[in-house]
Symmetry: C2
Subunit: 756 residues, 2 copies
């Protein structure tokens, strides 16, 4: 058991390291040379093209010493931007994501206060531990362990359990309410967007006489006669996509050599013809690449023609647009035909949110995939230790010596041997954990979700479950998940909460350390962006040939809902579980939430690139997980108290989860529809308003090419080669531009992007 002293030391170390990160960040961020690492968002938005030079002398190093003095005012700046502006700047998703941290603060600040005002003194003024022969520390004196068996003082904890539950539910309900209305307001006040008018139709049944396009047109003309406007079929453009990538690469090389030549007109750049330019005859590089590009352009044109002319490339899915939002809302919410597995309609995700490869999976395949992934995820969660243990047993010293006998003398050296012994077993696990989010993402992709936002939501759910089993339970009851599973199967339903509940107070110090390392230091490291920083400078030094390359070396990253949210949820879980057991944990969680709020607010403003906008569609998941944490905390308290001979409290404690589940169902019914459906009244209001304002709007023109496969966009990009960033990122600007522009690829006029 750690003493208060140990904790203080650990805290000091972590605070210092966090502080060090902040100082490093404060210094690095004001160097012009790092500008693209710490402010990529502004570059992406097109609001900044080169580092701001506020009186700095050098292009690379900031020599203005006054700016070093105000090294923490990024915090202030991060908190300055008001919420509406932030929504405008970074989207509703980011703002609501920040509200998760705020929710944490709202829940835990009063709980911490109450716990320290009431529970801690009640715990402290006992002598249970003193009289026992156990070793104990002052920290344990603050926890529930210090109360004697069957004491009447447990009534305090019982009452507090009710108070905490009601407070948490109250905050959750208010947040749900606010966020639902934020979402609806956001959707309502938005400018015209193609996805408001468009529905994605999947599983169009095959027809011997008509093509998919004709079929779609006829079907919707008949069944939505007053509202149907136009459609877009979905092409299978994987080959084209590959060709485009190659062309882009070649184009980039061409640019590089042209740049080189323009700087030094005396010698035309030469290049060897063989693989990677390592051997073969030297030829004129510019000519070579011009030729190559021409050739690949021909191929692209061929492939494009093939896609356009052959029906084999058309997938049985289409984007159907309506004359009014009302029509789209109706179509997305209703069933179209007798057979509910064909003509599946749903809201079209934002164009940039679509995950194109999954658009054409038939219904039966989808449900088989779901089964496979469910089974696979079960094995991943409970049996992931088996392959790792296997690797570990193979990758020990004897194994290496056997496989590669010539290494034996080196390995047998004392220092190296101990290094390998300490290092090898861990590395397999570390690698697995690093790749886990990607594995989960792959699973979601295989499962067939059609938008990036849905993929991330599902991955987050799975990641949370994995963490719950392997981090939370795994730390409390040591042993692999599989051993736990085996234990739980062999234990009775009322033993399980007891087993876990009893171990909880003992693990408080472990989790405090965990919060400091993973939470505090982790968040502080996030702001330093060490990996992107190093990668950017490496790329800049070795690879960057053109301005475009530099753009691409920037790597702003995204919010990463699929990894970030489950991490926060773990803190909610720890906070709620320990609020009654060892309140000493709470301040550490509070610091985490506050720190993370500031840091992520800064990152969202200055760094992260917004990949999509789902208008906070993830909130029901967040809400459900906090409620789950609440229920887990109640069950564990029940288990703990039943071992404390406070059995008379059981009936009172059982009502808590029942009420909480009911609360969840109530909230689900009351608020979830706002995140899943689109009310007709809202649609009608916007429609009416729009018709009054712009009676002559050419909606068909606006919608015609909104949903085109990104490769067709990329094509335009490389050809037109003009800086159109803004138009892509703010689709609401597109229509006005479009009316003025008539360009070569008029079929995909909307898809121009930000190549330069």
């Amino acid at each position: 058991m750690a003493t208060l002293n140990d904790i203080a030391v650990a805290a000091a170390i972590n605070i210092l390291s966090a502080f060090a990160f902040f100082v490093a960040f404060a210094i690095l961020r004001i160097q012009p040379v790092n500008d693209r690492v710490y402010f990529p968002k502004w570059y992406l938005k097109g609001l900044r093209c080169s580092p701001l030079r506020t009186g700095a002398l050098s292009k690379f190093v900031n020599l203005d010493f006054r700016s070093y003095l105000k090294f923490l005012n990024w915090m202030h700046a991060a908190l300055q931007m008001p919420e509406p502006e932030l929504i405008d700047h970074a989207g509703l998703d980011s703002v609501v994501y920040l509200r998760i941290y705020l929710t944490g603060l709202k829940i835990f600040v009063p709980i911490t206060f109450l716990a320290f005002a009431i529970t801690v003194p009640v715990n402290w003024t006992n002598h249970m531990l003193k009289h026992s022969n156990l070793t104990y520390s002052n920290i344990d004196k603050l926890s529930i362990s210090n109360i004697p068996l069957g004491s009447r003082r447990f009534w305090t904890h019982l009452v507090m359990a009710y108070v905490f539950t009601f407070w948490t539910c109250y905050v959750l309900k208010r947040e749900y309410e606010i966020i639902a209305s934020m979402r609806l307001h956001f959707l309502a006040s938005e400018q015209r967007r193609p996805d408001q008018f468009t529905v994605l139709v999947r599983n169009v049944p095959p027809d011997p006489d008509e093509s998919v396009g004709q079929l779609v047109e006829h079907f919707f003309m008949v069944n939505h006669p007053d509202h149907y406007l136009t459609y877009q079929v979905v092409f299978n453009a994987n080959t084209l996509s590959k060709l485009m990538d190659e062309k882009k690469k070649l184009q980039n090389w061409l640019d590089y050599y042209q740049l080189k030549y323009s700087r030094n007109k005396s010698t035309r750049p030469l290049k060897k013809k063989g693989t990677f330019g390592l051997w073969g005859k030297k030829v004129d590089a510019i000519e070579l690449y011009t030729l190559k590009i021409e050739e690949i352009s021909r191929q692209i044109l061929l492939e494009r023609e093939k896609i356009m002319s052959s029906n084999n490339y058309i997938m049985p899915a289409a984007f159907v647009s309506f004359k009014m939002r009302w029509g789209a809302a109706v179509c997305a919410q209703t069933q179209q035909t007798r057979n509910p597995t064909v003509w599946l309609t749903e809201w079209a995700p934002e164009p940039r949110d679509i995950y194109w490869t999954n658009l054409a999976i038939p219904y039966v395949s989808l449900s088989i995939r779901r089964l496979i992934i469910a089974v696979a995820f079960f094995f991943l969660t409970f049996f992931f230790m088996i392959p790792i243990a296997l690797v570990q047993s193979l990758a020990n010293i004897e194994g290496i010596e056997k496989a590669l006998p010539f290494l034996k003398p080196i390995i047998e050296m004392k220092g190296i041997k101990s290094l390998i012994q300490g290092f090898l077993p861990g590395i397999a696990l570390k690698i697995f954990l690093v790749f886990l989010p990607s594995i989960l993402m792959l699973m979601s992709k295989f499962e067939g979700f059609i938008s990036t936002s849905a993929l991330e939501r599902r991955s987050a759910t799975r990641y949370y479950f994995f963490q719950f089993i392997n981090v939370f339970l795994g730390s409390i009851i040591t042993g692999t998940a599989f051993q736990q599973l085996d234990n739980f199967i062999h234990q009775s339903a009322n033993e399980i909460p007891k087993t876990i509940g009893v171990s909880i107070p003992m693990k408080a110090t472990f989790f405090i350390t965990y919060i400091m390392v993973d939470g505090w230091a982790g968040v502080a490291a996030e702001i330093l962006r060490l990996k992107p920083l190093i990668m950017y400078h490496l790329k800049n030094f070795f690879l960057v040939k053109t301005q475009k390359d530099r753009e691409e070396a920037m790597d702003p990253g995204t919010l990463g809902f699929n990894t970030g949210e489950p991490q926060i949820q773990l803190y909610f879980l720890l906070g709620l579980v320990y609020a009654l057991v060892s309140p000493i944990l709470l301040p550490f969680i509070l610091v985490f939430f506050a720190l993370a709020y500031v840091v992520y607010r800064h990152q969202i403003i200055n760094v992260y690139n917004q990949e999509y906008e789902s208008a906070a569609a993830f909130w029901p998941d967040v809400h459900a997980r906090i409620v789950t944490a609440l229920i887990v905390s109640q069950l564990l308290l029940m288990g703990l108290l039943s071992t404390k001979e406070a059995a008379q409290s059981t009936p009172l404690l059982i009502t808590l989860p029942v009420l909480t589940i009911w609360f969840h169902l109530f909230c689900k019914g009351r608020y979830e529809p706002a995140f899943r459906r689109y009310p007709l009244q809202e649609a009608m209001m916007k429609d009416t308003l729009e018709r009054a304002r712009e009676p002559n709007l050419n909606l068909k023109g606006f919608l015609q090419s909104a949903y085109i496969h990104p490769v067709f966009k990329a094509e335009d990009e490389s050809v037109s080669d003009s800086p159109l960033e803004e138009s892509e990122r703010t689709p609401d600007l597109v229509p006005t531009k479009r009316s003025k522009r008539s360009d070569s690829f008029s079929s995909s006029a909307h898809l121009i992007s930000h190549g330069e």
Copy 2:
């Protein structure tokens, strides 16, 4: 342990008693005096007004002896009517209900065949029981108990488990498919019905400026401008309803005395004025009742005016009708406003299916009611023995002697004492079990379902759960449900299937007896209709005063989905559980399904009154429960085999429930929407067809008064006093009548019903 002999004797007794019921039925049904007991359906349909006299001599007793010889040909007759005609005659609900029995036959005939061809020989040719010291019978030699521990023969059972599961799933899938298409065909080929065009709107938010009616009109005019047609508000007519009932009673007495007077013109009938006509001055009965009716009519008129004029009687709910089925389909499937708890729309149930009192429950109240009922049902299921045991302990001999000492000498007589001792403890339980369906129905009503069909579906679910816990599990592991619950909480997850699984083979003979008594004899008793028979003749003798009274004494009863379906499901459960363990049970279940099919087909054709038509909306429930039974059987087999040292089979057995759950989810996604939503294509097809056929249809006239509270209908009925049953029962005839009519209550133009 019962021997084969015992079973044979029991079977003989039950077969004989069933046979006796059939003979009695065959004799009673052809007596003209019983015609209204055994053929009420034909009277209700208006196809029969007096007993058919096929050469019979007497009005009361059938003296045609030839008809006694063909005493079993009702069975043949019952099977004769083809399915489409039966749908026409008794509705789709009844036909699909019969298909549950057919499904049972389809599942169990091949399973029985396979079990007797393969599993039984495998079980029989062992000597496990011979070598053990257990007492055993030949029946046990047929069961899995006869196979030695760890024998390789368990592979047979494993393979058969897969075969049975796949066969059951195959049959279930096909049935779901057929019934879904029957439902859609039924809905499509139906004649025009008001519910096709109408949506029920609940939780209309209060508005200070507008009445509910205006509000509804405005809301739908704005948000469904192209399709909205008309609306009907819902009145709170409970007081009126009571007054109407009273008036009906008085009117009936008046009729009686007038009839009496018309038969015997010499003396005007007299009646005492006091309570129940027992004391007071004798007055002229006809005058008395005429006066009373006049008074109550005045009251009714007053109440009716009050309802019409005051807004307090208008409930925040309305029936909104659309110009097209398409519009109604859209409105029912979409969300109307931001707040998902107001303006809730759903398909209007059939007018006769509506449960009026629940129409105005607000959302929050609904969700609280749901919580209360969930908790109450939990206690009902697991703790129902507590109050009964309490009653039993009070109602013992000592208790009675204490409470009523003067009875002591009588009670102490030997015969009476033993009678009371044998009788009293059971009676409380019996009374409870008789009232259980009504209690469950009350729970569903409290929960706030708005249609009778939904009430019955929910009650059936609860009844099934209750039977599963208290009959199935209760018989296998003796003890009250509460004791079981307690056991299960203290047992580990893998112990529970073992505990149950091990006891299963031992209970085979018990369940065989149960099937014969409850199933065979029960079904045979159903056809005799002993209670309605006696009640009818009693009423006829003592109470029937007028022709209308006789109509009302008829009591055809209904199919009783809420009690009947859970009973069938119990047989599915037993069949699936015992198919692998003791196949000897299967033939008994087959006989039950076959017998019940014939009997209920006869009853549906000749007896039961169809209360509502939900177009087989209950099938998803039926399907889900059979799947549940399948999963239970798989888990119990797993438990049983794991005690048989056949643990190597566990992984293979675990995949079975996983696959079955997946199958269920697949079917749910594939077929359930057909039972919950109404595809737009279908709606559009019917609309187009109708517009082409009847371009000048006055739809508003047709819909205007379709959804009127039944008291307003009853009013018309009792005033006009003409047998209007047919027009009531076939609402599709209404429009032609209505267009001719100019109504009396013009102030309530929307509320007029079809009285004339």
